[in-house]
Symmetry: C2
């Protein structure tokens, strides 16, 4: 297996972008990535997108995106694993380069979510759950995560304030990220008084509906060294795992087994333990998710996610900063793009170009991107290769 | 890159299977594949499916399928490239094994199409076209292929009878395939008098709407030799290419450039020319497609696809048999499963276990699986490794 480096990242400002179509979003982020990498022709394109079909009536992005990106006849594929689609696209680009099938592989994640009604959006997102045994019966994603939150509160004494503190922290960071959909700070009181969505989760516990895209360019470490554009950031570990799609079938409703197992696989591949990781971007689709993910990754013990957050462990100046980008909560959550954008943030931190949100000692970073209620998880570990 | 072999195939009887859900179909084909391979645990699962979201409200098959297949926590991903989704799933499984990421990789293709109305089916399938510049304006897939057929007729003098002969040949073969949706022979007269769908294409020029699944198991050649269950069938070449999604943007409406380029790539990887290939399974979603594909693959010269078909070149006893399985026309076309089932047929022929439709000299076979109106194409070349 060849060693793989990330030589480019491409982001656009996320939001409710009515003037941009699905293809526009993907092309714009990809062109920004080409510019950053100093490359304008790739051997393969892997595209992460969940809802092109349901929301936009557009499947077959493996034809559409190379076409509109001016990459005539380039091999392409679309990956989907609900909200983990973006991370999967990067993993597939990694396989292309690692196997020797391609030298330069673009991974682009995209989602165009704001052209549909709230009801349609809820229906579409619920396609990440078990349609026959969950969604069809009326439960929504906030509902599924609310069940997990209630259980976590009951078992561990996690508090409403601790949940709120996840959102407060992430908005603090997002306020320093000009690409974020909601780049402003919020208070604990604002979270606690926001409208109830699914008890105990309120509006400000939930990540938003977003139009957006993100891209990364992968090549061999050897090629990356020749280009000399940036410090050489390598992907040293990847872990992918699945779990039951329905939460009723899980071993434990308070545990995210797919996250734990994907992390073990990625750490093993990288030859590291969680103590070797300096910072992470994690999948805070709801505030409870970030708390449960901290526990599944082994950053804290089960039940300690809430208290550790309120104590500042995961703050920008904490011992283990999480979601320096603002996370899904503040940066936005265009589902197919999220996993790719997480990787962009880690690369930016490792390069030392994160501006006001730059961490002082960013050497090894991790991304955790999750599908559905934890039915799939993809983890990447990245570091600067000296 | 490690050499990759196919050690198992799994099919089910295709049709209008109201008693089986999307997950049932995928699980049943996969279990048949496990049995054939003599393996009951895999390292990774790649799933080809186009319309789970639009037709079944079910995305996130990367969680659902390992869950229901009893492959707890196994890494999985879903690939989509319209009707080429199945071929892409096999290609990704190949990358898993070739790169060393996995030793045993299952690729399963599935589609559950008959739970929706004809109008919904037409809308869903049109998501393979350019939604903004083709489908939204009302053109359907039969309409797109009818435009190509009209152009081919005008330029080359291809006749209605030659189109019909593609369907007649494929039904002849499908009548020998117990897994086919429509396992019976038809006559040229029946095709020519069937109801008009989109001039010049009639009902019997069109592949049907089908529920179905198919699976293959991949591992290293080394592992395949150890298992000694079957002759060792290797994937010696893979080619993937894209083209403009809209036919109006193509270089030539009578040419399938993605097919031609994918074939060149696959043949180069296998170190072969088209003359080294004995037989093929091709994407006859409409009768005109098979004729245009024959020309794009270089089996015949441009314009000769029709006359060569009527002269018997591609018949079961012809010099270059095409679609011994019955093709999409007779076997059925559950879009995500088609590319995988094509590979099952080639493996069956190479093993010499195709029964009444067995070819006498099947040494090297090719599959050609196409997305949309030719906006993407994936080609595999397989042969018995001595």
């Amino acid at each position: 297996m060849r060693d793989v480096a990330i030589i480019g990242t491409g982001l656009i400002k996320w939001g409710e972008l009515w003037e941009k179509s699905l293809r526009d979003l993907a092309v714009e982020a990809s062109l920004n990535c080409f510019k950053d990498a100093g490359i304008n022709k790739v051997d393969t394109i892997s595209i992460g997108c969940m809802l092109g079909g349901i929301f936009n009536g557009q499947e077959h992005l493996a034809s559409l995106i190379p076409d509109y990106l001016g990459q005539k006849h380039v091999p392409a594929m679309r990956l989907e694993s609900a909200c983990a689609s973006g991370g999967l696209a990067v993993r597939t680009a990694f396989l292309e380069v690692a196997s020797g099938m391609a030298d330069y592989a673009l991974a682009v994640g995209v989602e165009k979510m704001t052209d549909v009604s709230g009801g349609e959006a809820t229906y579409g997102l619920a396609a990440a759950a078990d349609q026959d045994y969950e969604a069809f019966h009326g439960i929504t994603f906030p509902g599924l995560y609310a069940l997990m939150a209630k259980s976590h509160i009951n078992r561990y004494g996690t508090t409403r304030e601790q949940l709120a503190d996840v959102a407060v922290k992430n908005h603090h960071n997002g306020a320093l990220n000009s690409m974020a959909q909601f780049p402003f700070a919020i208070t604990r009181e604002q979270v606690l008084s926001s409208v109830m969505i699914a008890d105990p989760l309120r509006l400000m516990d939930c990540s938003p509906i977003t139009d957006g895209a993100a891209a990364v360019m992968l090549t061999t470490v050897e090629n990356a060294r020749k280009l000399k554009k940036h410090p050489v950031v390598v992907i040293s570990g990847i872990g992918l795992a699945s779990d039951t799609i329905a939460i009723s079938q899980r071993r434990d409703i308070c545990k995210l087994d797919a996250v734990e197992i994907a992390a073990q696989r990625a750490l093993k591949m990288a030859g590291k333990t969680i103590k070797d990781i300096n910072f992470a971007e994690v999948h805070d689709c709801f505030t409870i998710s970030e708390i449960m993910v901290m526990e599944a990754l082994g950053i804290v013990k089960p039940g300690q996610g809430g208290p550790a957050t309120s104590a500042g462990l995961t703050a920008l100046d904490g011992k283990f900063p999480i979601n320096t980008s603002g996370g899904l909560k503040s940066k936005g959550h265009p589902v197919g793009a999220t996993g790719v954008a997480q990787i962009c943030e880690v690369v930016t931190q490792l390069r030392g170009t994160a501006g006001k949100r730059q961490l002082p000692n960013a050497k090894v970073g991790l991304t955790q991107n999750m599908g559905g209620s934890g039915g799939s998880c993809i983890i990447h570990i990245m570091e600067v290769k000296s």
